[in-house]
Every structure is written in C-alpha cells, then in structure tokens.
Symmetry: C2
C-alpha cells in the first residue's frame, strides 16, 4: 500500500497536533451529489450499488474529487450485518430500509447466529478496492451500525419514530433483547475486524437510535455492547494503529460514559456545545462534529459563521475532527458543502498560526 499523504484525520483522532482541523462529512457520498445519483441510476438500485465493489468505490471517491476532505468513508449500508443474518434487507420505492423477515417471536431471536463473514465479502472487497483507488491520498473509514441500532430495525422491520416494538421487547423480555444484542455485537466485532484486515484505517460505530433510550437503558442495552465491540477490535494491523469512533445521536448527556467505552473519539450531534464537551472529556478522547446539517440549507454567510463558531468553541487543543452532527441532507446544495469544507480549513489554519 502507498504511504499516506494526508494523515491529519488519524493524527487528530490520536489527539496529536495538526496544521488544521481535518474534516469529513457523514453521508458525504450520497444523493445530494448529481454524480452519485447518476451512478445509482446506472446500478439500478441502492442495494446493487452497495453490493458492487466497483460502484461502491466510484461513489466513495466522488466527494473527494469535489471537496478538500481529509477522510473517505466506505459506501455501504448500516444494515448489512442483519441482512447477512438472513433478515432479507430491501428498499421499498422511495422508502427507507426494510427487512423481509423481522424478528417477530422468541424462536426467531433464539435462532440468530453470527453470520459467516463470507456473506459480507462484497463489503471487504469494496474496502480493499477503495484503499487501492485512494492511493494513499486520505485514510479510509470502515463502519457498522451499533448493536442496539441494528436490533431496533431487526425487531421493528423498518424505520420508526419511536421503535415501539423494540422498546416493548426490551422492557418485557430483557433476556431476549440481551441475547439479540449479544449475537449482534459478536457479529459487528467480526465485521469491523474484517474491514480492518481489508484495509480500513479507522472504524466508526453508528448508534443512530441509542438516544431514544433512558439513561439507565442506554448504558445497559446500547453502550455496554459498544464497549464489548471496542474490546474485541484489532488494535494494530500491518503496523498501523486503528482508531475507533463511537457516535450516539442524542447522546450528549452521556458523553463521559461514552468516552470511557474504549473508543478513541466520540461523535457529537449539534445539540452539544463542543467547547463544553471538550472540557468534560479533557484529553481522554478526540471529538468529532458537530455542525447542524440543516444549516447547509441556509446561506453562505450563515454556514461560514457557524463553522467558525464551532472551531472557536473547540479551541486550540488537538483532537478535533470537524464533521456534521448527522448525515448530510439530500436537498443540500453541493456548492454549500464546498463553502463549509473550505471555511473549516481556512478558520482552523489561521487559528493555529
């Protein structure tokens, strides 16, 4: 593999000084980009795109061709693992993800096993191919959904505002929920380790729905399983250390607990003041975030002002990776993304000189 030319992202995750604040954006390869839409149309469907290492490589690289981003992230779906477990992932037209065989009874949950990783070969092939295509320009991030977030979809069978069925199971039959989370955490650990072996230079766990839980239930049913994944991940691979990022949307209140789960960095949504967050965690972890993606729909001046505010709030300490507080919106004008990325570079370079 060629030597890495831009290691600002990895250095920031290690809380080492960088000449500027590195930036990447959740869902940076996606529907707001016309070239993504064109590739997806060629693929025929989202799943065909995700299943093709060639096409996944193509769309992973698209935002890097437009913007001065400091990391690439594997193009894939968070629900690949339950799909490999046999739940049958599909996308209804214009709808979110669905499972053909959601977990509807005790027998279905009892029958769950860690899938053979060969079923996820297409993901590891994509990782290897993207690494090659990047040619050492920037690091590649691998990722997975968190066990609790995957469990929400596996039980509910689709997205939801409240995941009522999943919560009902959690409270009515915590034993079944723990079994489901236990198997899923083992599967996610293997999945991320295979991504690391295939070339992922950092990994991120997306806990999109942990923020729906009470403080007590979050720690028991979401954070504990992410901590188990952290302890099971390969720390070094081919002589490189592989940093891990954990992101719980709505998890700002639990920052100290998340920072103690074994991760190197915590992703923050925009509801948390990143300066106060940095005071709370000190040098223990890096922080990633936390620009409200809604602001990308407003004006260049507002985008620049908010980027500058976040960089100033974090302050001069090392350990900040600039990002959005959640995925980029489909309606985002691509030109606004450039304004954000350039402003982060400009602001953070001058604050260090």
């Amino acid at each position: 593999m060629p030597a890495l030319q831009n290691d600002t992202f990895l250095r920031a995750l290690a809380r080492q000084p960088t000449p500027y604040t590195p930036v990447w954006l959740m869902r940076q390869a996606g529907r707001y980009l016309p070239e993504y839409t064109a590739t997806r149309q060629r693929a025929g469907s989202f799943l065909a795109l995700a299943h093709s290492p060639d096409l996944a490589t193509e769309v992973t690289l698209q935002p890097l061709q437009r913007y001065a981003l400091d990391a690439a992230i594997l193009f894939s779906d968070i629900l690949t693992v339950p799909d490999a477990m046999g739940l049958g992932l599909y996308f209804a037209d214009g709808e979110g993800p669905r499972f053909r065989h959601p977990l509807r009874d005790e027998a279905a949950i009892a029958a769950l096993v860690v899938p053979d990783m060969s079923k996820l070969r297409y993901v590891f092939d994509a990782v290897a191919q993207i690494r090659g295509a990047l040619g050492g320009s920037v690091p590649l991030i691998g990722f997975s959904g968190s066990p609790f977030t995957l469990a929400c979809y596996m039980i509910e069978g689709q997205g939801s505002d409240s995941f009522a069925t999943a919560k009902k199971l959690l409270y009515s039959r915590p034993d079944l929920m723990h079994h489901l989370l236990d198997v899923t955490a083992s599967a996610v650990t293997s999945y991320l380790n295979e991504q690391i072996r295939a070339g992922a230079q950092a990994v991120m766990v997306f806990d999109t729905w942990g923020g729906l839980l009470s403080d007590a239930a979050y720690k028991t049913f979401s954070l504990a399983y992410m901590a188990r994944i952290m302890s099971g991940l390969i720390r070094e691979c081919d002589g490189r250390t592989v940093p891990r990022i954990v992101f719980t949307k709505g998890g700002g209140q639990w920052l100290e607990s998340i920072a103690g789960c074994g991760c190197d960095a915590v992703g923050l949504d925009w509801t948390t003041d990143i300066g106060a967050a940095r005071e709370r965690v000190g040098h223990q972890v890096a922080l990633q975030g936390n620009f409200d993606p809604a602001i990308l729909m407003s004006t260049p001046a507002a985008i620049a002002a908010e980027a500058a505010r976040i960089i100033a709030a974090y302050g001069p300490h090392p350990g900040h990776v600039f990002n959005l507080g959640h995925g980029i919106w489909q309606q985002t004008p691509p030109e606004h993304v450039r304004i954000l990325v350039d402003k982060v570079r400009e602001c953070s370079s001058s604050s260090r000189s």
Copy 2:
C-alpha cells in the same frame, strides 16, 4: 372557589415536603381512554371538542375519575395562539395539526401581531368551568406551546421530523425569526396570564421542538423567549402563588440553563437520569418526570420496576412531581396507567415512612 383538598402537586413545585410524590401524566386526557374517544366522536372533531368549554371540561376530568392523579391539566391544543393570530388551524383526517396560512414570506411575518385575547375566550371559559367542576379536589394546570415550538409549526405549516423550513429561516434571516418569536412570546404571556386569571393554579410551557436546535441556537431562539414569558407572568393571583413549569423535550443537556430561566420546575424527558439532574440543580427548581411512555406498552412488572427506579433515583428530597417524559401514547392500555399511578403512590409513601 372551594379550598384545595389535595395540594401535593403545588407543594412539590414549591420544594416543600409532601406525604408522597404527586403524579400527573402529560396527555392524561386523550385517545388511550375509550371515554375520551366517545366524547370526541360526539363532538365531531378534535377542534370542536377543544372549542367547547363543556366538552373540554368533560374530557379534562375523565382521567381523574379513573386514577388517583394529583393534578388536572386543561384540555386544549398547543396551537391555539397561532390560530388566534389568523393562521387557520385545522386537522386533516388522521393527520397532525396544520395551518391554512403558514408564514411563507417576510410580509406575513412582519404583519404578525399579538391577537386580541377575546379570540381565545373559549380557552379561558374552559379553565373557569374546569376549576368549578374540580371542586377543589386537585389543582388545574394551564399551558401553552413555547414561542420556538409555535414558530416551528407557523413556518412549516405542519409537523415535521426536522422542521427544515423553520431552521432555514432561523439561520438565513435571524431578524425575521426574532420578530416572529418576539410577537409570539408576548402573545403567550398574555394567554397564560388570562388562564391564570380564569383560575389556572400552575402553568406549563411545552417546548416540544427546542431540542432540535444546537446549544447556541437553543439559548438564543428558544430559552431566551421562555425566560421573557416567565418574567411577564403574574406571580400571585387571588392570594395564591402560581408556579411555572418549563419542559424542553431533548433539553437534558441544558438543564442548568433552563433551571435559571425563572421557572419553578423543569420537566425532564426520560433520557436524563433524574437523580443526576437533581444533583445538578439542587434545590433551585422542582423536577417533573420522567418515565418513558413506551414502557406503558410493556408488562405490569416492568412498569412497576421503572416507577420504583425513578423514585429511588430522585431520592428523599422534596421537589419531585412524577410524570411521563412525553405524552402518553394512544395505544397505551388504560389498566397499565393505573398500575403506574398506584405504584408511584405506594413507592413514594413507603420511602417517606
């Protein structure tokens, strides 16, 4: 007015000792009760129900006839104030609230004025009639939506996951957003003061959507206007002190700031540990909450265990009003509500003996 027989709710809001933890439930008069559904059918529509002081009184009292609740809350809608401003509130079949004339341009926002309170007479009449019907059994809570939450609906025209249009205005034209919030805060202040004059013994401001904002934007665009309302509310009326509760869903991170806005109590959703919250605010305010309404869908044992956990977490200090962390769900079995209410009484009585 007859003397108040059960003042545990008001005493808890004043951080005075009570023989047990008082309890009421957000949306306690609602669609989970068959008698509510029957009254609503008789009324013909939700708005006809809300506009009739007789019927509003009837449904306000229904949950008190079933359960040992320690407060009643006015049956009304949070969008009455923008309706009185001329936005034309309606409910599409099976949908949430909508406005016929959402604020679509600068001229519409500039034209907004505080409505004549006579347009909201039906609400004040309902308050007076409910007070009479309660006969001093328990106190009556009046309420309003927060200026930011009302602004979200006024701009968007209906509910939304992200209130993208409202956020776009906030960031693109903060001057217009401030004008809208300014007028709305004045209107809400008058509205709550009229409810107090009509007999409301406590008032609550529901900030359902403030939690969608960044820390900085929340303080500027939501909390600042709630603080202005607090400073404009009648403190004493007919020799009684009128306590004020502020509830921002998703506001757990901002608890100290909310506690300083001039309110007597802060409502908490279930994501915040109420014991940690009590440590953060000390004796400054009472805390109201924070049972996850999803748990009412599970088992009697889980409901009882979670109620006991919350009461133990709050501890022996005065100043706890038990409630849900958000409104009760339509699918809630009414028998489960009884289990919760009775368990709160049982647990909190024994913890004080």
